[in-house]
């Protein structure tokens, strides 16, 4: 866990409102578990809270890490205007990523992502493929125009797309795609990140799976586990977990989404 001024070394617009931001610094050399996140201070001092983003790619050799974000509000709009050379005060890597240590070469995993949930899943898929694990991805978007990183995902294994409006791939939400395509396939692990509906679908469907994981979002203040802002209740309501510190990745069946 570092606090570091990272340098913008690339910014690229992927869709109408999604950007890819590559940052340079030592943080990229700290061993990273896919699914961890960074917490970025917006370079406008009216904004006091940092913005959490999953890590999309890490290149330790080049000391680079890549984020992908959608411009949803003031902070992300400002980020989208950053030029190469700008500094970005960043905390990271934070949280616990996707458990993968149990996976063996040739085993087969399913990655389920939606929208800006896919950034950390790309990092995961890359790392798994590098270890010889077979990756199949099921990815949902609202419409074809919103899709990004298609070539990147396809390069790593089979990819199934679902769009809400049917403009590309399967017509309907990702839960229906899972029913239609993967109801009977066995996967050694399931990893999901995306909107609440997607997480609910995965949580229900793979509740009993011994290695099914979902990554959550929550409004944060400290980002490091000391302020109790980001909590999510245990499914049995007997405990509260911190998304920043106990998560953001949780096994299915563990938390009440």
């Amino acid at each position: 866990m570092l606090q570091e001024k990272l340098t913008v070394c690339r910014q690229r617009q992927l869709t109408a409102d999604v950007f890819e931001l590559t940052l340079q610094g030592k943080m990229a050399t700290i061993a990273q578990q896919a699914g961890q996140f960074v917490d970025v201070l917006v370079p406008d001092q009216r904004y006091l809270l940092r913005r959490p983003f999953g890590i999309t790619q890490v290149d330790a050799a080049k000391q680079q890490l890549t984020l992908i974000y959608r411009t949803v509000g003031q902070g992300t709009s400002i980020l989208s205007q950053l030029k190469v050379g700008a500094n970005l005060d960043t905390l990271g890597p934070l949280g616990n990523g996707f458990p993968t240590e149990f996976l063996q070469t040739k085993q087969h995993v399913l990655i389920i992502g939606g929208g800006t949930g896919i950034p950390p899943l790309y990092n995961l898929a890359q790392q798994l493929v590098a270890r010889g694990v077979q990756v199949t991805s099921a990815i949902g978007f609202g419409t074809q125009k919103q899709i990004f990183y298609e070539a990147e995902f396809r390069a790593l294994g089979a990819v199934h797309y679902a769009t809400d409006d049917g403009s590309y791939g399967f017509h309907g939400h990702i839960g229906l795609l899972l029913d239609a395509e993967f109801a009977t396939t066995h996967f050694d692990a399931i990893y999901a990140c995306g909107p609440r509906g997607l997480l609910l679908a995965v949580n229900n469907r793979y509740r009993e799976h011994p290695h099914a994981y979902i990554s959550l979002e929550s409004r944060m203040a400290c980002g490091v586990g000391e302020c109790y802002a980001c909590v999510v209740p245990a499914e049995d309501q007997q405990a509260l977990y911190k998304v920043c510190d106990d998560g953001p990745v949780f096994a299915t069946g563990k938390v009440a989404i």
């Binding site: 866990m1 009216r46 006091l48 905390l91 909590v231 509260l240």
Partner: protein, 308 residues
């Protein structure tokens, strides 16, 4: 002579800077960023008799140069704090004074926590939180009713082994009424200010953004309110004040001290910059030079003799 040293009832501080309650938890994660021994003291998260789960999420929202929080006093409870959190600090930072923030729903809760937590050796003072705006019984009733504040403070002082600082609410027509009541009841000092009640509405849902509807406003946005209230209490009471409210820099720290504070707590700034406290401590001497301030003890003395 240490230019930054200040002395307060129960507290010998090597510098005036301490993280504010709830913005630093029990310090464990922040210890990854710097040696907590640099701090003047540490005010830990509110402690209640039994563990509290707090409010529904979202619990925080961002406002212009400020933030709203409605954590709802979530904490692991008195036992866990006494057996895990405080020993963790004592072991690693035996010389770091801890100020324990105490909250409760009724007087007997406060009394129980004060009695027990004040026996822990590294707890050097108690901050009695009678001003949390975020829970139905979070002390705001005590904090806005002088008789209740008097009775509660008196009961807690009676059982506490360490000096008691009462945390004042800014959500008052006249804060001095409460200040006078708790001074009469035996408080050793004040900490101020707690957060201002605020709200944010999500334009998409047309509903309050916070799960609790309202929350407490903190950060630089509220600093002018803090400066004014600290100054007002400073002029109407001789008790020392630990000031807080929007402090981000060494300049802000000095401004609160000139208003009447003797030490300064840093809250929201920890979220923007986890190293806010050591950064401020490091900047203080050169900032004091710029404004011809020899040492803090004499500045505090000067402001006591000739308040602004």
């Amino acid at each position: 002579m240490n230019r930054l040293a200040v002395e307060l009832p129960g507290l010998k501080l090597k510098n005036p800077i301490m993280p504010a309650s709830g913005c630093f938890g029990f310090g464990q994660r922040y210890a990854a960023f710097y040696d907590l021994n640099q701090l003047g003291a540490i005010i830990i998260k509110a402690a209640t008799v039994t563990p509290r789960t707090g409010n529904p999420t979202p619990r925080v929202a961002e406002t212009t140069s400020g933030m709203l929080n409605a954590i709802g006093l979530q904490n692991p409870g008195l036992t866990a704090i006494m057996t895990e959190k405080l020993p963790w600090l004592a072991e690693r930072y035996p010389d770091l004074p801890v100020i324990a923030n105490v909250a409760g729903a009724k007087e007997s809760d406060y009394v129980t926590v004060c009695q027990q937590i004040s026996t822990v050796p590294n707890v050097k003072a108690i901050e009695l939180n009678i001003s949390c705006p975020n829970v139905a019984h979070g002390g705001m009733e005590f904090g806005t009713d002088p008789e209740a504040a008097y009775a509660l403070t008196k009961a807690c002082c009676a059982v506490s082994q360490v000096p008691l600082y009462v945390k004042l609410s800014p959500n008052m027509t006249d804060i001095r009424v409460i200040a006078r009541a708790v001074e009469a009841a035996g408080a050793a000092g004040f900490t101020m200010i707690n957060t201002l009640v605020g709200m944010q509405i999500d334009l998409k849902t047309r509903q309050p953004l916070l799960g609790n509807r309202t929350g407490g406003l903190s950060g630089p946005a509220i600093k002018p309110v803090a400066v004014r209230l600290i100054n007002q209490v400073h002029q109407s009471s001789r008790l020392p004040i630990i000031g807080m409210g929007g402090v981000m820099s060494a300049e802000d720290t000095l401004e609160l001290i000139m208003a009447g504070a003797s030490a300064v707590a840093v809250g929201t700034a920890n979220f923007s910059n986890p190293q806010a406290c050591p950064d401020i401590i490091k900047a203080l001497p050169q900032t004091m030079d710029r404004y011809q301030i020899k040492d803090l003890t004499s500045l505090i003395q000067e402001m006591a003799v000739t308040p602004v």
